[in-house]
Symmetry: C2
Subunit: 497 residues, 2 copies
């Protein structure tokens, strides 16, 4: 890496560069950049929460010669990657997340080999062989930026694992996107850890601390192409909260108000995380109604969704730490018009920092995540319909559920217009084990599982199932009998899926 | 807490006190001490790996008036707790581990309410309501020590969660055990973290660093009784390694030698953890045959078992960090005769430090744990026979499998004299998800799952199953078809259990 002392890279004290392109850069068209990528390669792309991903180079790749590509992102990306490269047949492997319907369909049909990975670990997995089977051919990082120099770049609306990908790559291709405000540099804090076993503690004593400035640095020799673009992100669309969402939010609010009053860990400050998606967004929005008293409240998660902006505007939230501005088009517009003001309270970090088990523990995060289904003993399926068809992938849910001090699963009690119970005898897949879900909230109430034995858990969870399924759940529990710490009737266990 | 400046507590620089009983202490008989415990109480006891647990007070409790007790230990303890208090009917609830056959039977029959919890989190769970349902009545810590003063004690052969238990307790009862060498003070490093959200990073830059000395400190007013004893631990008995154990060890050795040569994280140092038990002990013993080159090798786990002592004696191991000397009777004798020498290389820590996700990540630990069964997609059942009957509990397996950089599951391919395959279509319980098992080793080979899609995983895992079950596994895979990222035939999924 170039000596930081002679680099032109912006720093924490002076984060916004004077121009978007600084120094002698290898300017290329999207097609020229795509042609630099060999026939067999691993594309390490920026993007998380559907924003901040490269657009023109993947599109040019899909239109070009056939390739065999592994595509590794931080999280969700747009159609130029997860539709176009699938339809062209170039994408052979994909990690770690597939919210896009085109890529998801290809994964579920076996046309693309996929494995969902914990977000917090992906940076190290790319560095140390954790997805060895998929790391094929040359490693090319393709990263969207708001500014770039010979040995640095500043990410756009998300950071994800771009720092690790740029570090691991043989070559780096940058899409400099003028549709993303240069002022986003004020939001980023790119801390990169040393490798184990010489890794140091993450130097944050408060979830909103900033230490390193906005630049992702790299060896100048790696920069293969800089492509200009002004194509906007294709971000999430959130549906309006349903009546069920609002009842879940109300139950969560009641629970949190009681818990805040009795849990010594929450006496002076509350650090909250919410999972990605429309329910998560609705729950974030409901935060504004909670009586936090004089406690400091911060969002310590992986994505800033629209639901948080109102609280930030009202001063109800001290700030937010995340890795992505996973906003709707309107949310993005609102943020972009006031980047400097929001930047005072919002910090984006690399995803291995935003989701670090070490920090989730240190700050006593209360984690709220959703699920496909929960079983009578508190095992949580967050990814697979009927055990087979993947929805999005585990994402950061396991990082927070496993490491937070209070893990809450919030979900509607039914799916498919009430025809299917989401409280089931046995989940068809397990993403978060019975050890990691402390509290389950549905529109029918709150099951506080903390310290309960499996027998006691089954009663508490039956009580928050939809009333139309409670008799069936009790019948399963009777068939299971009293043998063992965790009674089951395995013969009929999966008859619900 | 008493001002440390005026306490008589031993320090890191002067760890061994001149006497075992220092100051004006409330000396009691076991029966007198037991009578201090109210009818309804939560007993927070020392003990981990079957050693360092209190003996006389639980025995006296079992012989005394009826009680309703919750018993929370760090890990495994002896018969005075897990047999006598079960048979007396006093134990109503138990956390987090039941290797003892008497307690386990009561749990599986529903006479004792039990939930297994991650070892790393139990200290915080006791502090912050994580096992709320079980924390009944007065909280009484009962801790075995080698020395005690008015506001401190030095633990004996294990630390477990004694620091958190003493901190949380309303009253503290100490069993000062003369059968445990006073020199064990040299082995202990009792670092206690501040509570979230003001928790600081754990101040270790090397897995063998020592910072705080051997004393567990507490408010002098809490010390209710000091009981003298000289009863020895009732430690583990290890069986001799079987031929299958030795073949698994050989396959693990071959894999690690290749991995060490290609994984940049392991270029200069290798930090290894092995799970508790006879197979773990056999695998530790096999470490001596691995070609580590000039790498520093350390054990970074939760228990020091006999298998490590040979390597320490031969200088093949730089040292060991753990929370328990889970040695056999012979191993204990060997250690006790040379405590001062072993203390130079061995450090015991509180279990929330030995198993801290933060440190497992920081030091790049390679974790090797065993299991009951593994399914075709890499989900791991470590605790439940046929999904219902608990064996020991998850213990620290989830701490290491989830947070280590390379998670290895080592297990025989069959159980019940070859009648039952441990590689199954679907596990009947999940303790470590498909995201956390990177490599599976049996006596038939090594399945390297890293980066493989579920379809590819099923082929790799079938290849390390016992040959007599491979056709059946392939038949299941055919019935499951090609629908979904993780094909299953849920109707026949549990026909193997």
């Amino acid at each position: 890496m170039t000596d930081p002392a002679v680099s032109t890279a912006p720093t924490a004290s002076d984060p916004v560069p004077s121009e978007r392109l600084i120094g002698d850069l290898p300017r290329r068209t999207p097609r020229e950049a795509a042609e630099l990528i060999p026939e067999r390669a691993t594309l390490l792309v920026s993007g998380f929460g559907g924003v901040g991903y490269p657009k023109l180079v993947p599109e040019a790749l899909a239109a070009g010669d056939p390739r065999e590509l592994t595509v590794v992102s931080g999280g969700g990306v747009g159609d130029e990657i997860d539709r176009d490269l699938v339809e062209s047949g170039d994408m052979r492997r994909r990690y770690p997340f597939v919210p896009n319907e085109h890529a998801r369909e290809a994964v579920n049909e076996g046309r693309v080999q996929f494995h969902d990975r914990h977000i917090s670990r992906l940076a190290d997995e790319v560095r140390f062989g954790g997805i060895r089977e998929g790391m094929v051919g040359e490693r090319v990082a393709v990263v969207e930026a708001v500014a770039v120099g010979p040995d640095w770049l500043i990410p756009s609306t998300s950071i994800g694992h771009a720092p690790a990908y740029v570090e691991t790559a043989d070559r780096v291709i940058v899409e400099m996107n003028r549709a993303q405000p240069l002022e986003l540099a004020r939001v980023h804090d790119v801390h990169v850890r040393a490798d184990p076993p010489n890794r140091e503690p993450i130097p944050l004593s408060d979830p909103l601390d900033e230490t390193d400035g906005p630049a992702i640095r790299f060896d100048a020799g790696k920069l293969a192409a800089v492509v200009k673009t002004d194509r906007a992100d294709d971000p999430y669309e959130f549906r309006e909260p349903s009546a069920v969402d609002e009842t879940i939010a109300e139950n969560l609010r009641s629970f949190l108000e009681v818990e805040i009053g009795r849990n010594p860990m929450l006496a002076s400050a509350v650090n909250l995380q919410f999972g990605v998606g429309s329910l998560g967004n609705a729950l974030m929005g409901a935060l504004a109604d909670i009586e936090f008293g004089d406690r400091d409240v911060a969002y310590v998660g992986e994505v800033v969704q629209d639901g948080l902006l109102d609280m930030l505007d009202a001063g109800d939230l001290r700030g937010a730490s995340a890795t992505s501005l996973a906003l709707s088009a309107e949310g993005q517009e609102r943020f972009f018009e006031n980047v400097a003001e929001y930047a005072a309270d919002v910090v984006l970090r690399p995803a291995d920092i935003s989701n670090a088990p070490e920090l989730i523990d240190r700050f006593g995060v209360v984690g709220v995540n959703s699920a496909v289904e929960v079983d009578l003993y508190g095992n949580v399926n967050a990814t697979h319909i009927r055990g087979t068809h993947i929805v999005n992938g585990i994402g950061g849910g396991g990082d927070f559920s496993r490491n937070c001090r209070l893990g809450i699963i919030a979900l509607p009690s039914t799916a498919v217009d009430g025809d299917v119970s989401r409280i089931v005898p046995v989940t068809s897949h397990v993403d978060h084990t019975e050890h990691d879900a402390s509290v389950v909230v549905t529109e029918h109430g709150v099951a506080d599982l903390r310290g309960k034995s499996p027998r006691e858990r089954s009663a508490a969870l039956t009580a928050v199932a939809d009333p139309s399924f409670q008799d069936d759940l009790r019948a399963y529990r009777e068939r299971a009998g009293e043998g063992g710490n965790t009674p089951h009737d395995l013969g009929s266990a999966h008859s619900w899926q």
